[in-house]
Every structure is written in C-alpha cells, then in structure tokens.
Amino acid sequence: MTASTPPGPGLPDGVGQRVDAVRLRVPAEPEYLALVRMVVAGTARIDPLLDDERVDDLRVIVSEACTNAIEASARRGEDASTIEVQVRLTPSRVEVVIDDVGGGFDPDQLDVLPPVTDPARMRIERGLGIPLIRALSDEAEIRSGPDGTRVRVALYAAAPVPPGVP
C-alpha cells in the first residue's frame, strides 16, 4: 500500500540537491523498536545535519510513532503486520515517515471511519506520545485511517555557525 511512497509535501530542497533515503521494514513487534531507533539515529548522523540533542529527539519521536503502530497492530489482532520507516536526508533537514502498514483491511470499509466515540478513532490522541512527537519535531503530520496511520516528521538542520562567532 505504501511501499512506493512518492516524496510527500514539505520537501523544499531544490532540484539537483542530494537526497539520501534509507528505508526499513520491520515486524510490528516491540522487540524491533530498539533496532528502528538505532537505524534512524545512525542515518541521521551520516551527515552532521543534526546535533546530538536533535538526534536524541528523533529517537524519541520514532519510538513514539512505532509504539503507536505496534499497539494498533496488536489491537487489530494481526500476526504479520509491519511498520515501514523511511528516513530522508537532504541538505537542510531530516525527514522521517513512519507507516503502519498492517494489511488485511477490508476494501469495502475504506470509506467508513469509526465513529468519534470509537477507541480506534481516538487512539492517536491518547497519552503522551503524540504531544512528544509534536513538541520534539519542527514539522509533524499524523494521518490515521482505517488502513493504518502515517506519521511524518521533519527536523531542520541547524544553521551553520559563521566562522569567528564564539
């Protein structure tokens, strides 16, 4: 469903600038969360775009988004659900997209959102995870539907410090 995601909105880097992308797909199981954090943080450090504190912010963001995906998958009772994580490095920002790509939904149900009172509809507003994602990122977009949830965040590179500035 989301395996060949085109570049989303909010990618202002100009044509011709280098954009590196790393894509990871893991089972939606708690045991893989540390691995996802490690890969995302390691990717963000390939270019010194973000300082260590922002890389730590990114680890928290990714952990929160993947935890939500893992819990959603568990609630749906799917065995073979996966999470896809894409990290894009551009000269000005690090962008991460986390897709909860649990399959097995009924296409006939695609247009039917759960009622507002349904816990499945409310889940992304629950708890501390979403506020943390929003607080720690420069941009955050969270879309949830019957076929899964997409979290897209961007962290901007710090402006280079001009030489001679203490």
């Binding site: 504190e53 928290v60 935890t67």
Partner: protein, 112 residues
C-alpha cells in the same frame, strides 16, 4: 536492548537502579518489578534513572502508574535523574511537576 534493574536499600527506601532503554519492549519488566515491590509492602521507592540511555512515553507511563500505586498505599516514589536527554522528556510532558526529581540517591533518601 537489555534493561538492567538493580535493587538496593537506603535508609528505609527501596532504591531501584534502572539501566538501558525503557520502551514498549522493556517497560513491562520495570512495571512488574515496581508492582512487585509495592505488593511486598515496599512503598517508599526511589527509581534511579542515572544509567538510563533512553526513555519514551511508555516508560513514563510505568513511572506514573507506580507513583499512583505507592501513593494509594501511603507511600512515596522519587526519581533520581540528571541526564539532560532524559530530563527533557519529563519537562516536555509536564512530569517534572508530578515527580520529585533529585540529583542523587543521597538527596532523594535524605529528604525523608
């Protein structure tokens, strides 16, 4: 990622030193240990987070749950944490106002 849990005793406080990463994979072990302590009547607890490399909202939720649990048993739960990356998560979520956060186990236990 391994989660380390080391229990010691200090002036009537149960001191649980946590190390490693606290997330949805490891938090159940922390929860189980804290629930176990309260079940044994240990309701004055210090959770030492100095050797924690990572914590997210799942870990925070376990600590909040433990705080509620000790308080309903007339106990108390204090944290030890000086690491900026861990403190930042507490600050953003407003939990610095909920927990007593100390700079050392000594400070946490002497406070009485």
């Amino acid at each position: 990622m391994e989660l380390g849990l080391e229990l010691s005793e200090r002036d009537g406080w149960a001191v649980l030193a946590v190390s490693g990463e606290v997330d949805v994979a490891t938090a159940p072990r922390l929860r189980e240990r804290l629930v176990g302590l309260v079940g044994e009547g240990r309701t004055r607890i210090v959770v030492d987070l100095e050797k924690v490399d990572f914590i997210d909202s799942t870990g925070l939720g376990v600590l909040v749950g433990a705080l509620k649990r000790v308080r309903t048993n007339d106990g108390d739960l204090a944290l030890v944490c000086t690491g900026p990356r861990i403190l930042k998560v507490f600050e953003i979520t407003g939990l610095t106002k909920v927990f007593a956060i100390h700079r050392s186990v000594d400070e946490a236990t002497v406070r009485g």
